[in-house]
Symmetry: C2
C-alpha cells in the first residue's frame, strides 16, 4: 500500500457490512469440494542459497546436519550452555541440530568450491553437496578449484564420491600446508591414540586420488591462490585452519570454516571452545580476533556450521557478539 493511504483509511467510518455474498443467486451457491486432501509432501526445499557479491556469485550449499551434544562445548557450565540454547529455542535431544555447509563461488574466472562436505561417511543425514551443486544449476565437473578450510572429514570426505572416485575431476585441491603437514602425516597419526587415527586415515583417503594425479597442492603462508581470493589464517581448530576472503568491487565475504560450531553459544560467549579444536586456546583467540574484525568491518561472513545458508554479519552485543543472518530474496541487480 502507498504511504498516503493509511491516514485516509483511518478517517473512514466503519459501516454495517454490505454482505455481498447475500446478493448471490441461490443457484450459484455450491457446497465446498469434498475431495480427499492430497498426501503431505514431507520434502524440503533444495539446500542451496544464492547471493551476489560485486561481480561474484556466492552459492551456499547444504551438506546436511549432525546432532552435536552440548557437552562438546568447553569452558562453561552445563547450566550456562543450556540457558544459551534455550534462548534460541534449541533442543538438545538427542543433540543440537548443527548444519554442515559448503560454498561455491563463481568469480567470473573460476568456479571455486570451499569445502566439500561429508560424502556418506557419517550416515544418511549428510553428504548432499554434489546433489545441491546440481540443484543450484552447476555440475561438479565445472568446479576448477576446491579450497579446504581444513582436513576434517565433514569438509574433505566429499572430495570423493561414495564409491571412492574423484568427485571434482577438473579441480585442483588447495589446503594450507600446516593442515596437510598435520593430517596427512603417517608419523603424527602413528603417535596419535588409536581412536584418533581414523580421522588421520580419513583425511589421507579423501585426498589420495588427488595426490595420485598431482591435483592436491598445499599452499604456503602468504601464497596467492586465485584472483579475488585471499587466505586468512585461522589456526586453532586445526593447525592450518584457514578462511578464504573473496573480494569483488567493494564487497567481501569471509568463508570462515569452523570458527563457530554453536551459534547460540559461541557468539555470545566466544571464549567457549569446542572439543574438536586441536588447540582450544588458540581457537578461542582466533575466534575473538575474527569476530572483532568482522564486526568492525561489517564484513559478510559464511560459516560451515552456522544455520544454513550460514551467510550473514557479526555485530557486537553486550560483552560478546550476535549473529545476523542474511535475508532470503532474489538476486537483485538494482541495488
Amino acid at each position: 500500500m502507498r504511504q498516503s493511504t493509511a491516514a485516509a483509511l483511518r478517517g473512514a467510518l466503519v459501516a454495517p457490512l454490505v454482505a455481498l455474498a447475500l446478493a448471490v443467486p441461490a443457484a450459484l451457491v455450491t457446497a465446498p469440494a469434498e475431495a480427499a486432501p492430497p498426501a503431505q509432501m514431507k520434502t524440503q526445499a533444495p539446500g542451496f542459497y544464492r547471493m551476489a557479491l560485486g561481480d561474484f556469485e556466492v552459492t551456499a550449499l547444504y551438506d546436511g546436519f549432525v546432532d552435536l551434544d552440548r557437552k562438546l562445548l568447553k569452558g562453561a557450565s552445563a547450566e550456562d550452555v543450556q540457558s544459551l540454547l534455550a534462548r534460541m529455542f534449541l533442543d538438545n535431544t538427542p543433540g543440537v541440530q548443527t548444519a554442515v555447509n559448503a560454498y561455491l563461488v563463481h568469480t567470473g574466472q573460476n568456479l571455486v568450491l570451499v569445502d566439500a562436505g561429508t560424502a556418506k561417511a557419517f550416515g544418511p543425514n549428510l553428504g548432499f553437496i554434489v546433489d545441491n551443486i546440481r540443484a543450484a544449476g552447476y555440475d561438479p565437473a565445472q568446479v576448477d578449484a576446491v579450497l579446504l578450510t581444513h582436513l576434517h572429514p565433514d569438509h574433505a570426505n566429499g572430495l570423493l564420491t561414495p564409491d571412492g572416485k574423484i568427485a571434482f575431476p577438473n579441480a585442483e585441491v588447495r589446503v594450507a600446508k600446516a593442515d596437510a603437514d598435520f593430517w596427512l602425516s603417517e608419523e603424527i597419526a602413528a603417535k596419535a591414540p588409536a581412536d584418533a587415527q581414523a580421522f588421520f586415515k580419513m583425511a589421507r583417503n579423501a585426498v589420495a586420488p588427488y595426490v595420485a594425479t598431482g591435483k592436491l597442492k598445499p599452499y604456503a603462508e602468504g601464497e596467492t591462490l586465485l584472483p579475488g581470493v585471499t587466505v586468512v589464517a585461522e589456526p586453532g581448530h586445526t593447525p592450518g585452519h584457514s578462511g578464504y576472503l573473496f573480494t569483488s568491487k567493494d564487497q567481501s565475504i569471509l568463508v570462515w570454516g569452523d570458527l563457530v560450531h554453536s551459534h547460540s553459544v559461541q557468539f555470545a560467549r566466544p571464549e567457549i571452545a569446542m572439543e574438536f579444536d586441536v588447540d582450544q586456546t588458540q581457537a578461542i583467540a582466533t575466534r575473538k580476533k575474527v569476530f572483532a574484525d568482522a564486526a568492525a568491518q561489517k564484513l559478510w561472513v559464511a560459516g560451515a556450521h552456522l544455520p544454513f545458508p550460514g551467510i550473514g554479519h557479526v555485530r557486537t552485543e553486550g560483552n560478546g557478539y550476535a549473529w545476523v543472518p542474511v535475508e532470503y530474496g532474489p538476486i537483485r541487480t538494482d541495488r
Copy 2:
C-alpha cells in the same frame, strides 16, 4: 568427529610435512583444466520452506518483496530507526527489502492457505505464491480453504490469477466479518479520500468471483472454522485483522499476518507503528499483547512480512523483544 578424538589430537605432535604430492610420478602431473567457466546462474532457490508441526505440515511460501521506506515507521526519530536498521545490516536504499509470505498448512483433513499474496498488481517482484505452491509439490486446486488475515492487496489480490480468474477453484475464502464489513463496503469506500479508494476497490475485485459463487464466507467472532484452527483477533492493522493458531498434538503455530512490518525495528520497539495501520494505537496494543503471549508460551509464529520463511520464535530482550528465526533443515521424524 567423535568427542573422544580432539583431546587425542591435541596430544599428537606436529611433524614435518610428508608432502605426498611430491611422491607422484611427474608423468601423472597434469595442468589444471583451462575450460571456460560456465555462466553464472543468477537464480535463487525456490521460495518455499517446510516444517512439521505435530501431525500437520506447514509450508511457508514466498510471494516476493517490496522496498519499504523507513519513513513509513511512525513513533520514532529517523535516527532511532536508522540505528535499528544498521544493527541488522539493512539497507534503506531505495527502501528496506521486506518479504511478503503466505503459509500453506496441511492438517491431514484440509489443505489451508493463509493469505494469497499479491498476484501481479504491484510489479514483477511479487506474485509468486501459486508458483511456489507448485514448487512445493501441491496444486492450487487442492487448496480447500483460504483464510485471509485481512483484506489488504498483498494478502488478497492473489485470490485471482493475473487475468482475473479464480486461482483456488475448490476453496472457500474466510475472512473476519469486521474486515469484510470495512473493505467491501461501497459506503465506507465512498467516504474515503480518493487515493484510498483503490484499496477498497482492489479488495472488492479480489473477492468478487468468490462472492459470485458463494465461496466468500466472512466469519463472526468466536466462530470455529476448521478442525485444529483457532482464530486470534488482532485488530488495529485493519478492523478485522486476525491470526490463525494451528494446533496439532502439543505443538502450535500462530500465523499472525501483519503484526510486524519491520523485524529490525518493531521487535526491539513494539511501540513503533506502521503508516498502513488503520488504527495505529490499537495495532501497537495488539502487537505488545501477542509478543508477550508468544514469548511466554514459546510459541511458533509465522509472519507475512518477516524475513522468509518468516517462521520462528519471539523472546524478550531488554525492554523489548527479539526475533529468533527457524533453522533450515530436513523435516525430521526422529525428534
